[in-house]
Symmetry: C2
Subunit: 214 residues, 2 copies
């Protein structure tokens, strides 16, 4: 029996892979770490198959370790008895909760078989929506930019989790970058936003990215 | 009518998205730029729907411009008359030929409607197969490393198109990185290789990536 870590893609249900769909439809239980991933998974499996795992939104390492440990303890016996899935938006290996769960399982329950079904990550979705080409000679850095952080570096950056867009915009502009924001791309059409204006995405939203180029 | 740029994913046919599959099955013609992408597309559409476009393997900008211009001239009338698709392995916006075709269409045939269907990129596939987590605090640079190039930078790098693995390995090791190579991941199972040994991937292969961490 196997625990599948399945990447659901950026949010639109039909951006799941054919393999992800097939595996989802075959497992006995689908764990989803949040509301948005649950919504996508529910397009493919009945509600009764869905099960939540609680992960606190905190950076306290002790609290996080405790939560991952509890999650691993719940998932392990189910994955030994039957095929199970843990779904995440995007890809299970890119800025995802799944990595923590996998590490905890590998240490606390090393007999659990784990298999990953990759998904369309938000990096890709973002580049697609903005018409950005990551081309042959190019270099691109991926970084996180919560709470007004504005890490700089090479000439092209994709910043995740831009929760204070005006501050990030100000700092990046000072550093010579042109900045475009994208929010909830490929999720519900009425929530999707692409803008150069930091004030349009000023409220805190975990699913805001910025592309910076100079 | 629309030209769809469809990302096929890393090579296994079932890593195409559900949307990609639906669009492929609906269009009148599917252009594929190479043998591998043709093989995946052929799982979904009859041979008679497939059409090749020639893109020379050269870095000569004049030759490339001529080739893209010819490709755009061929694609444009088909995309005006009916829905058409251009498929690429991975994602249409990440290290892909599609970006060049799109730019050429936008300049030479601006009336052609273009829509992108994102795909699982090789970045993601690579991270999945190697068990690498691109986690919250992390920084990762994506670069190309043809012909023994070994660009260095932040503590974690993914290098594309490693066509001289021993030389790239030597330079990265000197710069303090641990290096893992992956070749043809998620393509045919018998071609897939993950190794620390540069000599095992010494022959030239466009689909070789390296992950370097220090």
């Amino acid at each position: 029996m196997t625990l599948y870590g399945i990447g659901l893609g950026p949010g639109a249900a039909d951006l799941l892979t054919v393999r992800g769909k097939r595996v989802l439809e075959s497992v006995a239980v689908v764990y989803s770490p949040g509301r948005l991933s649950r919504r996508v998974a529910a397009e493919y499996v009945p509600e009764s198959t869905l099960s939540d795992l609680e992960f606190p939104m905190t950076t306290d390492p002790e609290k996080l370790r405790t939560a991952w440990s509890a999650a691993a303890d719940e998932v392990a016996p189910r994955a030994r008895a039957d095929d199970a899935a843990f779904v995440t938006l995007g890809d299970p290996c890119i800025y995802s909760t799944f990595g923590h769960l996998r590490r905890t399982l590998e240490s606390d329950h090393p007999d659990v078989e784990i298999e990953i079904v990759p998904g369309v990550s938000s990096v890709t979705a973002f580049a697609s929506m903005l018409g950005v080409d990551i081309d042959a000679g190019g270099e691109l850095a991926l970084r996180e930019a919560t709470d007004g952080a504005a890490p700089v570096g090479p000439d092209r950056l994709i910043l995740f989790k831009v929760t204070d867009a005006p501050t990030t915009h100000e700092k990046l502009t000072e550093a010579g970058y042109d900045v475009t924001f994208g929010r909830r791309l490929f999720m519900d059409a009425d929530e999707t936003l692409i803008t150069d204006d930091p004030d349009a995405v000023a409220d805190r939203d975990y699913y805001t990215l910025a592309y910076a180029e100079r």
